[in-house]
Amino acid sequence: MIRNTVPVGKIVLLVVLLLVGLTVLGCVGIKSSPEGGSGGTIADGTIFLSPSVKQPGGLGCTPAAVDSKLVALSAAEGTRFWEVPLEGSRSGGGFGCQSSDTPAAIYGSPAVSGELVYIGGYNGKIYAINIDSGALRWVYPREGNLQPIIGGVTIALDRVYFGDADGKVYALDAANGDKQWEFTIGDKIWATPAVSGDRLYIGSFDKKLYALSAIDGTKQWEFVAEGAIVSTPLFYNDMVYIGSFDRYFYALDAASGNLKWKFLAEKWFWTKAVAYNNTIYAGCFDGKVYALGAENGEELAALDLESPVYSWPVLVDGRVIFATEEGTIYAIDTAVNQATLLADIEEAIYAPLSAEGGVIYIYSHEQNLHALNAVSGVSLWSLTIK
């Protein structure tokens, strides 16, 4: 027996609420606000780290990262020396998922040279900060912002090199931040440049790897891949090694840009490779680290780490340390090309690893800085850095 009426108005209202609810819920898990993913950089017993300061976002949306800061910590026990805020355009996450202004989320790791530490932000600013006091030495540009800087900065030849999402490569005077040259590529740059000798190598969304003069920015050569390049090139034995979104790992002649060999994996290459003893170790999104012969690209080993490799590896005493997105840390014995599980921090790892004095430093996506013994994997200390 029917006991209730059929409330047509309520049905319509229910449908509308359902639509609105699902619309909002539909954006769950999709980030449109940058959160940052910077790792630590170590210099003389001090770790420089740029955590994002996350602000609550709108309903059903990922928190929006609107600010960041640079923190200097003791590498020995993690005590904080100083911290300085890095300015970002103030904005809320909004009811949707995207904030209208530019947050200062940091993706590239800081770079240290002399008495300054340099860092670039998603807000399109480059900061130079005194490593002892945390005082700001200069900021570029002084007025306004560039397009988002997602790759890190590279310091060489007394210059600061970086690329931005507007497709421009910049060289600044490391001492005062004055622009020395810029080179326009025309498509987004998310990669950190690499400098070897007087040559700068940088990849772009336009599927090309560029070799530029680090002195004046003139183009030396370009190599066309089949997919976008966001990883940082590796210079080793007069060769340049780079992975691409087309799933190929390329080896190029550093002088001419000619292709020497290429290796096909199952998914993207995002992270920088490491070279040791004439072998290239390249982490891939297919969850494997490929050990390839530096000369001919021969696959020496495909080490299955069972989770995508995103963060930059480090080389510690003849062992290559890789971290996976799932939070497992593996040590690869380069003598036999075998991987052993060193630790499992059970937190997502995107940030580059860093190491000094037999200790590995890992900054997780959950904003915890872990210090692990590089040989045993034992946790030395762990701190939340927000």
């Binding site: 027996m1 029917i2 006991r3 209730n4 009426t5 059929v6 047509v8 108005g9 049905i11 319509v12 209202l13 449908v15 509308v16 359902l18 639509l19 609105v20 699902l22 619309t23 819920l25 539909g26 954006c27 999709i30 980030k31 449109s32 606000s33 940058p34 959160e35 993913g37 709108g58 909004g94 009811f95 949707g96 998922c97 995207q98 904030s99 209208s100 993706y107 997602i150 987004k188 998310w190 969304f205 599927k207 089949e226 997919g227 976008a228 966001v230 979104f245 087309d246 799933r247 199952e266 998914k267 993207w268 995002w270 999104f285 995508p308 995103y310 997105e325 995107y350």
Partner: protein
């Protein structure tokens, strides 16, 4: 395998890879791809949308009758429910007909716009996340990341003009399906819906990437076109501009028949019938006489003959007071 994995496997992965491949063949123009894929998806689920629109329209056409019943049986909810159900049955309208197609379509829409958001890869986190959805087709890998520029738009950012377009098209679409009503309560509700939803979605559009707004605008325009062919401009203009066609005509005819049925208080009173003259009753009269269907042994008081059948000869057997069975002779 969790529900998220199943969702990714059957909805997200096909949609994302289709978007990327389509972009490759549409001159690497992601804006054009959004428009084309939205139209394709709209075309695929067209029968469901059509069913839903027709059911909603028929439901709205019934509103005056429903309001009348609600007024009549304001104090007897049980009776009201039965009468409403009967009305729906007579007119061939199912309240579920409005909801079910919508519920079936929702996952498709969610998958489509989640895919658009993911493929846009506004921030590095998105691009990293996108990799897990990709098929191992070379074309997919060589096409990514997609170009975000389309016309004057950066598809990864909100756009004020597109926000206005989303709000405007949504308003037009809603206005077209809106039927005039005499009930002030319903009128207020309709009016609120007419303005609140477009404003809400326009606001959302400003804070979402405009690629998603492009999808909304295309969908709205498709539905406006569809509704025009079904019922003309509807509530957008005061006069009827188009004749109902096909199935809608049938709905209208059935509703019209229902409307021919005299109001309940216009029926002759019991005493006016001669004793033992006939055995056909006014539908719904059983409850008034304090007898349930179960008691009478009748599982279905009405087998679909409805009001129109009943009014041909509405006489009853006063003493028995049930009258669900016909007696011949």
């Amino acid at each position: 395998m969790g529900i998220g994995d199943i969702w990714n496997l059957i909805a997200m992965q096909p949609m994302i890879n289709t978007l990327i491949v389509l972009t490759h063949y549409l001159f690497n123009n992601f804006g054009l791809t959004i428009i084309v894929l939205t139209l394709i998806v709209n075309g695929v689920i067209f029968p469901l949308t059509l069913k839903q629109v027709r059911a909603s329209k028929a439901m709205q056409d019934l509103q005056p009758k429903i309001a009348e019943l609600q007024k009549k049986y304001a104090k007897d909810k049980e009776k009201l429910a039965r009468e409403q159900m009967k009305l729906f049955k007579e007119s061939g309208v199912s309240p579920a007909g409005c909801l079910l197609p919508l519920l079936v379509q929702m996952p498709i829409w969610i998958a489509l716009y989640q895919s658009i958001m993911r493929v846009l890869a506004v921030v590095p986190e998105n691009l990293v996340g996108l990799s897990q959805y990709l098929y191992s087709w070379p074309i997919v890998y060589s096409t990514l990341p997609l170009e975000n520029n389309f016309l004057w738009l950066n598809l990864a950012r909100g756009d004020i003009f597109l926000a206005l377009l989303v709000g405007g098209t949504m308003w037009v679409q809603q206005k077209m399906v809106m039927s005039p009503t005499a009930d002030p309560k319903q009128q207020t509700q309709s009016s609120m819906m007419l303005w609140m939803m477009p404003i809400f979605f326009a606001y959302l559009t400003l804070s979402f990437p405009s690629g998603l707004a492009l999808f909304w605008v295309t969908s709205n325009l498709f539905r406006i076109g569809m509704q025009y062919f079904i019922g003309g401009w509807g509530g957008l203009v005061k006069s009827e501009s188009k004749k109902p066609a096909g199935r809608d005509k049938k709905y209208k005819e059935r509703i019209a028949k229902v409307e021919e049925f005299p109001k309940l208080d216009e029926f002759p009173k019991l005493e006016e019938f001669p004793e033992g003259d006939a055995d056909i009753v006014v539908p719904g009269s059983t409850q008034e006489e304090g007898s349930s269907y179960e008691e009478s042994g009748d599982k279905r008081p009405d087998r679909g003959g409805g009001y129109t059948k009943s009014i041909r000869a509405t006489k009853r057997q006063p003493k028995r007071g049930r009258g669900h069975r016909r007696k011949r002779g």
